[in-house]
Symmetry: C2
Subunit: 643 residues, 2 copies
């Protein structure tokens, strides 16, 4: 039985509320250039790609549909079925920038899309551009494969974000009508279909909608979808038979592909398509929060532990296999063939972040931090307009970032994470302030009606020293909860220069006092270079070591080494030092140290022999994994052979 | 530039002639049970599968064709296009058993197939059951994808073998008419198509036919195909345009897939589909022999060296990638995803064997021996009726031998190799006898008209001691050339009990004397357990060691170890001993020794940590690689992590 660990009911569900991302300004440090690049380069170029590649043509409802040219999926379906999701996610990502950085040009582009959506929406509220234009009679006949609610969910997230950014209701109203139509169509009431989309997404979007509308029907619909999912006999079997198809002919074989093989409350193993699994768990955590549902929180916690304890790459990547874009068996973490889709790492960030609001535990925010600095950020190039879909941990040089993809779900996903980055840094209760992440920024917080301006001054993640300064209109007693990262083995703190004893509870140190304007906290997180070893069952990493410093995982690239890094041998005790290289891709900490290299001079054309290669000393350099494949193409390795 | 090694013209091409396989009897030792199993189990069950799976239905020319149910290839083509090749190869494999073990039942089955082929053959000689029944108007319109000559080639090999076994000409005559039709259709003469099949096979079949018919047109046709292949502009471009297709739409992208990107004489790198490459090189070696063509021999030798020096698995498997069923880049030898098709290893045996006839060099027979005891033999189960198509060198237990395959090229290929095994053991010239392989058998040889009965008495490959006894009607002076395997670092020999000094030239020791009836040779090949290391550029094997004893590569299976062998660590100097286990799958030598195992007791649900796992001592057992997956399913590894 996987995960025999017991999950006892806990104290009532906590209710931290994340700060609105618009109240956090990355005015220096690590995230400044990333957030600026995504806002100024990524968002505009993504719209350009959507246009160039014909994604927006699906909205020309008055023109005859263009021939199908997109690649066809293994299931025989065209990606065009879910183009709506791509511009929906783009609208969301773009919207997050608009409040602090108004951009009439972007706003006009969004309004144009919204206008077409409104024009195309069917009289009963149905909204999916593919079916409306091509096969309206087939709508809602195949929830298993056709992603209609997935696509609507992304439009809905976009609509909520756009409304929150601009106050314009038009898109939101279009989507509320679409949701009304879904409510009319699906549910337990007689005459309705008891279906749910095989690609989760609408559920978490409905919770976002509910938080805006406070309409209980919106929360109820999300709850229905989560509760209904995985009941047997399966809706997808019935649905297939209604289409005249044999349910046994399902290309993915098992509904575990969509986490629909059993109710989520009963699941003990994270399975199937990785993005779907993370969207499901994000929505499940949302409903645990909104419905105060301990059984859902327990399921989330159990599945989070299974993921992190047995199925997660050291980079925060997840879902090793391309064939199901997802999970295989526990401890199966191949490096060169890692699928580890950018979307999945981003969505693990969503899930971890939601968990931290209902159970303040550093184990959640540790993984949020891991994906932010590693397996999600690796999905976008330093120039902000090239992408990885798959985030391998090892390459022989065949992997290249691409300008666009036939299934461009990842670019807009990493974009929306970065344009809304501030929300992940802080959460509040009326008399608590939790600092989840470190990195230079200024935040404006509301603690039970009291205004607190918080300034973080730090070179984090390159340096573990963090200064926090409070600006307040009047003093207020509250508990400051500082995350002490799981990677950190020694942390010290002072308040106004006086050392304070840190008592760490589930990864957070609490300082409860009356805080006044101008007071400062200094946190010193010891940040040595760590050698990381994988559990012996993760055999792809056997005999290998990864390098980590702070939250950052490093890798060795051929362009620095002059040969494939797979040929390097790292002695178990060689010295490795860290230094900041201002010239590397906008500045980054690099590691340098002593290693060994197999000598090939006496091998000639022998492929196998009875003597191992002689090893000779050499230096090596490692760079942050998220920066790989931004320079000359070549081989790369995260896990180095240890000698 | 790959393979900068120079290929100087050599002395005139040698002309060893392999012994007829029917003159070699495996009357004991290693190969006795294998040859009996293949004859008594494999051959009959393969016919049963061909019937059960509907392969033979394609020959019911008077019935309407059945619907296409076979899986469709990536190219959109049905496997049924080349079903002829499967029963052609089965006829060949079965025929090899008939002379020494007449079997009227099998012969009747073959005659039934031949009768249908004759009935269906078109008036002009064209013969491919798919096109005749379904699309006769499309014949010869797509040599790039449709395998017509490949299929005819296998029928032709079957016809030659059946004629040689039974003296019956009917099948041979059918195929000669088919070849006449090809001669009428293809060639440089005006009015003919300058085409050649993208899947090589017909070329080597034509040389076999020529050796029976002595008709120079048959050799000329084979020569034309080899000479024409790879000329630019490509025939396949023209052909695609004639079909109205865009040549750029070729699914495999490059004609290197079919070794048709440049003439074989200019090729320096073994590329593309591995079976095709080996069939091409087998035919090229045949033509070097028949046409005394030094330029072809040079090309073969250069490509052999490239393959063996940079692209061959330690098991003799080749072609690492499933996507092109073939080669990728030099030193790319992934273990778990190794494609290493059984057919390719078998065909490397064909190629190596042919090379040894034109240039007696142990480097060729070493690889013949490697595939026989490892990467080809692994393709068939010990019970003779289950198969591997892909011969991985590492598994987490997902690999199972199958009863049949939708593309069953491999079962009949390994079958025909084993039913004609004797031919690989000896070659002769009028006054020379080359012993290529060791293994208990009795052979009847003709040396320039003199009869020699040779008995090998040996436990090889489990033991390096080989006794050879000559039975002769009268004494004869000839040079006995004994192969001293490349794996052997110390060999001793005696003649009639008197030690002889061995002078080894290109892997063979010559003993030139007047041999008399009853004389004996004893050869003692030192056979320790060897640790094998791969070239540092073969990074998948970095930090790993393989175990070899004599010609046999070993592996560790989960069923013996009680855990995944990937978790084993083999200290660089631990003792490993060999012993014979009579109870293991009919008897085999196993290795046993001291190793280490990572302790997981203190890991709990931690996936990564900063301390490596503690290692604790344990014993391990390794079995011959070719015997893996014959017992309880589980993980397997050839390359073990060295500590």
């Amino acid at each position: 039985m996987p995960n025999a660990q017991k999950y006892e009911p806990r104290a009532p569900i906590e209710r931290y509320v994340p700060v609105d991302h618009t109240r956090v300004s990355f005015d220096g440090g690590f995230w400044k250039s990333w957030t600026e690049t995504v806002r100024d380069v990524t968002i505009p170029t993504q719209h350009m790609r959507l246009e160039e590649e014909g994604f927006l043509e699906v909205l020309d409802f008055d023109k005859p549909p263009s021939p199908l040219v997109r690649p066809i999926q293994p299931s025989g379906l065209s990606m065009q079925h879910f183009f709506d999701s791509d511009f929906g996610k783009w609208i969301e990502a773009a919207s997050y920038t608009l409040k602090n950085h108004p951009n009439p040009n972007i706003e006009a582009k969004i309004d144009a899309i919204v206008g077409k959506l409104e024009h195309g929406q069917m009289a009963d509220g149905y909204l999916n551009s593919w079916f409306i234009r091509r096969e309206p009679e087939k709508r809602w006949t195949n929830l298993r494969d056709l992603h209609e609610m997935y696509s609507m969910g992304h439009l809905l997230e976009g609509a909520v974000a756009y409304f929150q950014a601009t106050g314009k209701r038009r898109f939101l109203d279009v989507m509320i009508r679409a949701v009304d139509h879904i409510i009319d169509t699906f549910g337990r009431e007689s005459g309705k279909l008891r279906g749910y989309d095989a690609h989760e997404e609408i559920e978490l979007a409905l919770v976002k909608l509910y938080r805006v509308t406070k309409d209980p029907r919106h929360l109820k619909l999300a709850t229905y979808f989560i509760d209904e999912r995985g009941r047997m006999p399966s809706y997808y079997d019935d649905e297939a038979r209604r289409r005249g198809d044999d349910p046994a002919e399902y290309i993915f074989g098992t509904y575990a592909y969509s986490q629909a093989h059993m109710p989520v409350r009963e699941q003990t193993l994270v399975v199937g398509h990785a993005v779907r699994a993370m969207y499901l768990l994000s929505a499940t955590a949302d409903l645990a929060f909104e419905n105060d549902d301990e059984s859902l929180r327990t399921a989330c916690s159990r599945l989070f532990d299974n993921l992190v304890g047995r199925q997660l790459y050291v980079t925060g990547g997840l879902g090793p296999s391309a064939s199901n874009e997802g999970f295989t068996r526990e401890y199966d973490l191949p490096n060169e063939t890692a699928y580890a889709e950018t979307c999945a790492a981003v969505a693990l960030g969503f899930f971890s972040h939601r968990m931290a609001q209902i159970e303040l535990d550093g184990k959640f925010t540790d993984k949020l931090e891991t994906v932010l600095y590693n397996g999600a950020l690796s999905g976008i190039s330093r120039d902000g307009e090239h992408y990885f879909y798959e985030n391998v941990l090892e390459s022989h040089g065949q992997n290249r970032r691409w300008k666009w993809h036939y299934c461009p779900c990842c670019p807009t996903n990493i974009a929306r994470m970065i344009t809304s980055l501030g929300q992940y840094f802080y959460s509040t209760k009326p008399d608590e302030l939790a600092v989840h992440l470190y990195g230079e920024n200024t935040a404006e917080l509301d603690l039970g009606g009291a205004f607190v301006r918080l300034r973080q001054r730090t070179e984090y993640p390159w340096n573990g020293d963090v200064g926090i300064e409070f600006g307040m209109e009047r003093s207020k007693r509250f508990t400051l909860r500082l995350r002490i990262p799981g990677w950190c083995r020694s942390a010290n703190a002072s308040v106004n220069g006086e050392t304070v004893e840190l008592e760490i509870n589930k990864g957070y140190a609490a300082i409860d006092r009356d805080w006044r304007d101008g007071e400062t906290v200094r946190l010193a997180l010891d940040m040595p270079v760590d050698r990381i070893y994988a559990h012996p069952a993760a055999t792809e990493d056997a005999g290998r070591v990864a390098l980590r410093r702070g939250p950052v995982i490093f890798c060795v690239e051929e362009t620095d080494l002059g040969m494939e890094p797979q040929r390097l041998r790292l002695p178990a005790r060689s010295a490795i030092s860290a230094s900041y290289d201002a010239a590397l891709l906008g500045g980054a900490t690099v590691l340098e140290g002593d290693a060994l290299q197999a000598d090939v001079s006496d091998w000639r054309d022998t492929l196998y022999r009875t003597e191992p290669a002689a090893l000779k000393p050499r230096r090596f350099k490692a760079i942050p994994y998220h920066l790989w494949a931004n320079r000359a193409p070549g081989a790369m390795a995260v896990w180095l052979h240890e000698k």
